[in-house]
């Protein structure tokens, strides 16, 4: 069995963001980077699938600068077999359609049985890439899965809907699924597996070899939203803050009466 997992490296969302010089993305310097949260579930599910069927080969793919290889190594340490790094120093300038086009171009003659992606990236959050890859390859795609069962080419998943209701659906591989939070519990790579991952194949391919789709949109501007609140911000020593907060609750709410 042949499995593909697509992962994106994203900044830690608790970072202090700044707008870049062109004003069209966030400044990528001085940020802490990690694997897109949704993609951790995708990697874990791929590894579990391999553990189940035994005979499987998992390729982890990521588009980005050399820096993304750090995140790819985590996926390799979690259990992916090989890495396909699509080298692109301007990945933030690529819209979802281009990203999907590159993935589809890479995947098109490799006969992947299952392609896993995250349901969305934490920074761009378009939620488009997985479905677009499937459409480009004319494969079935099911989004937002919180349960995945594979048996002999048949896949049964649960899609999460609003309010916590789930839709149960079935289809046959080859197929694309996009993974939602809570699908599984992603493992932490162990030290021996981190060591082993260093020896795994991690090839870089220049993006120009795979980029065949034109951009259909572009970013005009990135900016900080105006603070809505008018809410009070209090800072200081915890003991003082506790007293202050109790005072506020007494004055502004009826709950401490």
């Amino acid at each position: 069995m042949n499995v593909l997992v697509c992962i994106k490296q994203v900044p830690d969302m608790e970072s202090k963001f700044r707008v870049d010089a062109a004003g069209t993305w966030y400044d990528t310097t001085e940020l802490a980077w990690r694997m897109n949260e949704y993609d951790e579930y995708a990697v874990e599910q791929a590894v579990r699938l391999k553990e189940q069927v035994k005979d499987a080969d998992i390729t982890v793919l990521s588009i980005g600068s050399d820096k993304v290889k750090e995140t790819m190594k985590k996926a390799l340490a979690m259990g992916c077999d090989r890495g396909a790094h699509i080298a692109d120093d301007n990945v933030s300038g690529k819209e979802p359609c281009e990203i999907a086009g590159v993935i589809a171009e890479y995947a098109k003659e490799k006969n992947f049985d299952v392609i896993f992606t995250g349901m969305q990236s934490q920074d761009r959050g378009s939620g488009q890439v997985g479905v677009l890859v499937a459409e480009m390859l004319t494969l079935p795609a099911v989004t937002t899965i919180v349960d995945f069962v594979y048996s002999d080419g048949r896949i049964e998943v649960k899609r999460e809907l609003e309010g916590g209701i789930k839709a149960k659906v079935a289809f046959t591989s080859p197929a694309v699924v996009t993974c939602q939070l809570g699908l599984n519990t992603p493992r932490y790579p162990t030290l021996p597996n981190i060591m082993k991952a260093k020896k795994k194949e991690l090839l870089s391919i220049p993006i120009k070899d795979l980029l065949k789709v034109d951009a259909r949109q572009h970013t005009d501007k990135v900016y900080f939203p105006e603070k809505k609140g008018g809410g009070l911000i209090i800072e200081g020593e915890p003991a003082e803050l506790a007293d202050k907060l109790i005072q506020i609750l007494k004055e502004k709410t009826g709950v401490l009466a």
Binding site: L132, R216, D220, K227, G231, L241, L245
Partner: protein, 305 residues
């Protein structure tokens, strides 16, 4: 400008979010029509034309079939903007339509300002203005971003849509959300634990604060996904929607899906180490502090009061 609005239907009923589609259309200006795979027995309130495909016949979740039904209507109507909700239905179907039409898709639109679409980025810490280069644009709207001042009361004029076609995805049925446990919607005071609590042992300090305040404790999704707290206590789009007198968010960043479940609370306190956390947008008081220090201290002070 001509828009086509894609309404939603689930488990035998029209979903109310079609009003958000209408609100967006009114903001953009221009003619619009609606499309839905649903049933004449549960029509959306809409003063216009509804292209209706029968959900009994085509299935409630059958994305390829829904795509072809929608493309059939698009072929007849030639809309310039096709509008979906950014929901489990919308984000699943929209990219399929965008690719088929060679159209650019802009996801989770929160605003439309002088012809440009505005979307959030990085957990709503930043905003992005996007321009589409194609003749047709596909958009999905963030839940709650567009609202109507007055709800429509008229019934639409219905035109039936039919095609031949089957899809590769088989819908097996719905599974209801877990029931039982606490009913957070009845609590007047809720203190919720977010990922910022760091470890499962710290759920207790949040629960203790809730108790000291005479309320219940809730949680954000990661805390529930990690099985530190049961799902019935989850607040947000895929959990409970609550509106207590006091909501205290401990170590919760304020993602839109969490806010959707608690922003109607009367008074919101956020305890967060990150002064820029988006929870600040809905908080009446943002206490910039480490919850591990502040929460036990608060509980103690409340208990000796």
């Amino acid at each position: 400008m001509k828009l086509l609005l894609v309404a939603e239907y689930r488990d035998g009923k029209t979903l109310g979010n079609s009003n958000e589609l209408i609100a967006f259309a009114e903001k953009v200006g221009g003619e619009h029509a609606m499309f839905m795979v649903g049933s004449v027995s549960s029509l959306p309130q809409y003063d216009g034309k509804l292209f209706l495909a029968d959900a009994e016949k085509y299935g409630e979740y059958s994305p390829t079939v829904h795509k072809h039904l929608l493309l059939e209507v698009i072929g007849r109507e030639n809309p310039e903007i096709i509008v979906f909700c950014h929901s489990s239905y919308g984000w699943d179907l929209a990219p399929r339509i965008a690719w088929a039409l060679k159209a650019g898709q802009v996801s989770e639109v929160v605003d439309y300002v002088e012809g440009t679409l505005v979307v959030p980025m990085c957990n709503a810490k930043l905003r992005r203005e996007v321009e589409v280069n194609t003749d047709v644009t596909v958009v999905t709207l963030q839940a709650g971003a567009f609202g109507l001042a007055e709800l429509p009361t008229a019934s639409p004029s219905v035109e039936q849509v039919d095609i031949d076609g089957t899809g590769a995805i088989e819908f097996l049925g719905y599974e209801e959300a877990e029931a039982g446990g606490v009913d957070l919607t009845k609590a007047e005071i809720i203190v919720s634990a977010g990922r910022g609590i760091g470890k499962p042992e710290n759920v207790k300090m949040v629960a203790d604060l809730a108790k000291a305040l005479g309320g219940e404790y809730g949680a954000s999704r990661p805390v529930v996904d990690s099985e530190w707290v049961e799902h019935t206590r989850q607040v947000g789009t895929t959990g409970q929607t609550v509106a207590p007198k006091l909501y205290v968010a401990c170590g919760i960043s304020g993602a839109i899906q969490h806010l959707a479940g608690m922003k109607k609370s009367e008074f919101v306190v956020a305890i967060n180490t990150d002064k820029d956390a988006p929870i600040g947008d809905v908080a009446d008081v943002l206490v910039v502090a480490d919850l591990k220090q502040l929460v036990p201290m608060l509980t103690e002070k409340l208990n000796v009061r």
